[in-house]
Amino acid sequence: MSPATTVIEVRTAPHVHSGRSVEVIMRNVVYALLPMAFYSVWLFGLSAAFLIATTTGACLLIEHLCCGAAERESSIGDYSAAITGLLLGLTLPPALPLWMAVVGAFIAIAPGKMIFGGLGFNVFNPALVGRAFLQAAFPSAITTYTPAQAMHRFTEFIPTTLAIPFLKAAPLKDWIAQVRVDGFTGATPLMLQKFEHVTTDTWSLFLGTRAGSAGETSALLILLGGVYLIVRKMMDWRIPAAMLLGALALSGCYYLSNPAKYPSQLFVLFSGGLMLGAIFMATDPVASPVTPRGMWIYGILMGVITVVIRFEGGLAEGVMYAILLGNGLSPLIDNLTQPRTYGAGKRMFGKEAAAK
């Protein structure tokens, strides 16, 4: 021992750390998303594989270029762009032309995230920003669904996948007829229910052997991914719980009031993008509240809005707009639900001193 020559470092407390880090959390979210990606490739084949690869690759590339333009170190190593890309791919219909997917990825990353300053500063979930743009720009392409487990799906693309930008793609009718699947009308279970009052069996919804966006079909795999992240303490369970609870409660009321017109609450829970949205989109920490009460309010609000859009609005699906609205409200929710500090007399409602 020779403390006489020892060089000691001076740092500020704490001198230990939990070892959690942003890139580890983000990497695990990617792991949790991968089963869904593989399952969607199994369901929809080559087109889904290329769609997801395209959005992920494009998001990474665009984030890298944006960092270059801002003259700072590339941030693609934190895996957040990979998550955005994966999520975007999973929320798109598998038949979407790849060039549109690239446009979506650009909107998601450049104006959706990097323009605010990158990870941590975006107001909205970037993947949903990209998807919302696509919904507005290409309303027909983004509601064109193809059957699951089509023939030759591992050897052939869905014809629209390789459409040339800005040219009208060939209609899918002929292709769908060619790959058979009896009675497929190009509609998701949600559309079938809403516009044709045909209810799909809940069990097949849960397992996911149905038409839909690439990754939203299997509630089972989504739940497994969510449970994995929650168990590893990388996701807050309160937000998905609140959102599903909100949707469950309101749709239950609707169902009880008129069982002939409205689907059961379980159908609402497992159909469309509600599971994927509640577990992987609404929980985007950057765009959601941080206060405990705020998380519940935010989640329930989004669940309720989803059901209202689905039942009362003109669209079959409402998850995307519900979450974007929730994202926009989350700073306000945070502000109004500041926790009561130890030793303080009353609960604080919003900023007390702002009114001085």
């Binding site: 001076v10 300053g117 807050d236 941080v290 007399g345």
Partner: protein, 461 residues
């Protein structure tokens, strides 16, 4: 586990479980460290005014002899930790980083080092005022790390009534085991100290809170109570589920009694006085014989020492000497006074061990990694979920980055933060939140001082 705690009632609702590493030293009895060739006794080892020296250069002092008197009510005297000769009165480096006045004493190698000072005093017949004075004379300060003069807390504030003495035996900081060993080895002194505090404050009850990772200490204390039921009436021992930062006075009060100390208030505002167990053990030991505080138990531990242990260290022992005695390794990278969560890194190995040093944690290069990359806040709310006083560290951190210190205080209760560092510990973005808050609090204090000065000048003009 959390569910279990929820149903069992008394628990800390926030905070976190930090790896404890207490098994390095918790089974090792307290042993005395040899005297260093030179002891350095700073005149300011406590919160409040520095002590005033009573000795001059070249003077011979006896172990236990007063060598400095209290510099006011908010101050305590110093006693010579060793029989020897005062070498000089000069500046010495302190743990804070600056220099402070200190008395240098060279021990006599052949002296018996017996404590010859002191005489019995009859505590049972002393008035509360006399007890407060006697406690001040011992020089005891909060040995849990705060070093706040103990006698000040034993005086009931005007207009207040104290009904319960809370004795803090939590020791929630990882690695530290001094309080644990004191409770195990000196339970009678702890109880005697508690009785003295109850007498001085006129409190009918005392409750000793101990974390459930020290059940042997709980048992030792309970046995000591049972051994003399009539004397220890009103004293109870409660075990609480271990969780950091339960040893913070505000937290313990909430967990044990369900009371909250008001913002910027004192435990006295809710009828309580809180003392650390080691502090009371010292009072229980020193007061009946009218002696002064000359040594304390220090846990020297961590991967950087080969002989970790709980050492009885003479106050004024230089850090370097203590580390040599504990067989410090060569690849030491950090020496921390206190625990890893709230302790301060020593800037020099020449600083002396003072009354407030609970432990010396020695880390090697393996534990202290290069600074991790700091990311922007991703609003994951991990800090909000652990903050024991329910602040919003995430938002406070964002405000701190924009230098909006005043807003942090007025709108977000910054000044209630007691710097437990839970937020920094869990932050996946590695944002040094608690450091931001220390800076912000200091800036706010300075601003308040400036404003006070300005108001004064205005009144004079």
């Amino acid at each position: 586990m959390a569910l279990l705690e929820f149903f069992t009632g008394k628990h800390l609702d926030r905070g976190l479980h930090v790896p404890e590493h207490k098994d390095l030293t918790s089974g090792l009895p307290i042993r005395r460290l040899p005297f260093a060739p030179m002891l350095v006794v700073p005149l300011s080892q406590h919160a409040g005014a520095p002590a005033i020296p009573l000795v001059h250069e070249g003077q011979e002092v006896v172990r236990g002899e007063p060598i400095a008197k209290a510099g006011g009510f908010m101050s305590v005297p110093m006693h010579s930790p060793v029989t020897g000769r005062v070498t000089k009165l000069a500046l010495a480096p302190t743990a804070r980083g600056d220099l402070g006045m200190a008395i240098y004493i060279t021990p006599y190698q052949a002296a018996s080092q017996e404590v010859l000072y002191g005489a019995p005093q009859d505590i049972e017949n002393m008035t509360p005022e006399e007890i407060v004075q006697a406690v001040q004379n011992t020089g005891v300060v909060g040995l849990g790390g705060a070093a706040f003069p103990t006698h000040v807390k034993m005086k009931v504030p005007d207009g207040k009534k104290i009904d319960t003495v809370v004795v803090n035996g939590c020791e929630c900081e990882p690695y530290l085991t001094t309080d644990h060993r004191v409770m195990l080895e000196y339970p009678k002194d702890v109880l005697y100290g508690a009785r003295i505090a109850m007498r001085a404050l006129g409190a009918a009850n005392a409750v000793i809170g101990v974390e459930d990772n020290k059940m042997d200490a709980v048992e030792a204390l309970r046995n000591a109570i049972d051994a003399n039921r009539t004397a220890n009436v009103g004293i109870t021992v409660e075990s609480v589920p271990a969780k950091y930062p339960q040893g913070a006075e505000k937290m313990l009060v909430k967990v044990l009694l369900g009371l909250e100390v008001p913002t910027r208030g004192l435990p006295a505002d809710v009828g309580l006085a809180v003392f650390n167990v080691a502090t009371l053990a010292q009072i229980g030991e020193l007061l009946p014989v009218r002696q002064g505080l000359i040594e304390r138990v220090v846990t020297i531990t961590g991967p950087g020492v080969r002989k970790p242990g709980n050492y009885l260290v003479a106050l004024g022992t230089p850090l370097r000497f203590a580390l040599e005695q504990a067989d410090c390794r060569d690849d030491v990278s950090s020496v921390i006074l206190g625990g890893p969560m709230m302790g301060a890194a020593a800037g020099s190995l020449d600083i002396p061990i003072t009354k407030g040093v609970t432990g010396i944690l020695v880390l090697t290069q393996k534990e202290v990694k290069a600074s991790s990359q700091i990311y922007a806040c991703i609003h994951c709310a991990a800090c909000v979920d652990v903050c024991p006083i329910h602040l919003n560290p995430s938002h406070l951190g964002l405000l701190a980055r924009k230098d909006r210190y005043e807003e942090m205080e007025t709108d977000y209760h910054l000044m209630d933060c007691f710097e437990c560092a839970c937020c920094s510990y869990v932050c996946p973005s590695h944002i040094p939140l608690v450091q931001y808050f220390r800076v912000a609090k200091q800036m706010n204090r300075e601003r308040a001082n400036r404003e006070r000065l300005k108001a004064k000048e205005g009144a004079h003009a």
